[in-house]
Symmetry: C2
Subunit: 203 residues, 2 copies
């Protein structure tokens, strides 16, 4: 078993932090995304979508998609639970995780994809869409600050995959100058300091 990784990209960091919280150690193999190796035939045989991370199982099958990989490990090793314990928690954690992905991390990623030199010539870009996503992400940070005024973690009382998704998404926001402001977003600041101080955050 090994994980195809790209050490500077946000999505594989979600899996690395998740595994660190579980205490699971597996070999990592770096894919050179600067050289676009993930968009070339050898890697596209592993994952036709060209996305990283990808988990290679011992039977040779590949599981792509960050959250699918986390789901595999959550089922393999339920402790500590990061995706909810019972049905109710599983539903609520997945709701919060998706909000962090779709409302925070994805708009930030879209700003980067649609404006950066890194993606120029690799994918079609729309600066107009980047601007819409920038506004969306900014508005959602305000909303998130209010959420965190009432609860210590994204999904409530416990640290979960929703915190990992949010931390990685927000940290990546720096590359497009979207970042929580200590004055305007004191609750995000308090939460971010807390989750960033966990040893797993360095994974």
């Amino acid at each position: 078993m090994k994980l195809y990784d790209a050490s500077r990209a946000p999505s594989p960091r979600v899996v690395r932090v998740f595994l660190a919280e579980k205490g699971i150690d597996i070999p990592l193999e770096q894919v050179d995304i600067v050289n676009a190796d993930n968009r070339k035939p050898p890697f596209l045989k592993i994952n036709p979508m060209g996305t990283i991370p990808v988990l290679e199982l011992d039977d040779g099958r590949h599981i792509a998609e960050t959250i699918a990989i986390c789901r595999y490990f959550e089922a393999q090793q339920p402790d500590p639970p990061l995706m909810g314990r019972d049905a109710r928690e599983q539903g609520l954690v997945e709701m919060w995780r998706r909000r962090m992905e779709l409302e925070v991390a994805m708009p930030i990623a879209q700003v980067f994809r649609n404006t950066s030199d890194f993606f120029k010539g690799r994918i079609p870009q729309s600066p107009e869409w980047a601007e819409i996503c920038h506004g969306h992400a900014t508005k959602r940070l305000e909303w998130l600050d209010n959420v965190l005024a009432g609860q210590p973690y994204i999904a409530g009382e416990h640290y979960t995959i929703a915190d990992i998704q949010a931390m990685v998404g927000i940290d990546f926001g720096r590359v497009v100058d979207i970042r929580p402001d200590a004055d305007a977003h004191p609750n995000i600041k308090r939460w971010h300091d807390s989750v960033s101080s966990r040893p797993s955050a360095k994974a």
Copy 2:
């Protein structure tokens, strides 16, 4: 327990089909999206994101996000399994479900959101982004046809939530004139006929 539903929108249809496959019957409450009731304060108290469906639990808590609601019911009633049985299957089904959501259903939805009169004045629109998404969805249908040449269902040998996600996404494509072509996509056609003939498809 009840489900906030919008009978003509794609996301709540995913949950209705999922529940029909499980044989679970719960009360539905329609939200008038034509009148934008989902974007007004009473509904925003239930789900600040304004999205439908939302599941109201008996304890008054709300689970929003289509897949989070499905996850809740999968944990409550594992049979028939629609999200994978063991860890390996759970990972693979989630990978395929996400591909259907992110690579097929979401680009189609983005074309609609960024071009339709329905969303004019409700959200900022980018026709430029719609065009990029139109190209992306079209390309992914070609890829999907090749996938379905080798397996009966989206995630392999069994009908799963990935089929529901794909069917609902592709059916919604009609509103923006993105649809599989019986000549160009014979495998999608065969699969689509099969999943559409299940009684659940009418839910």
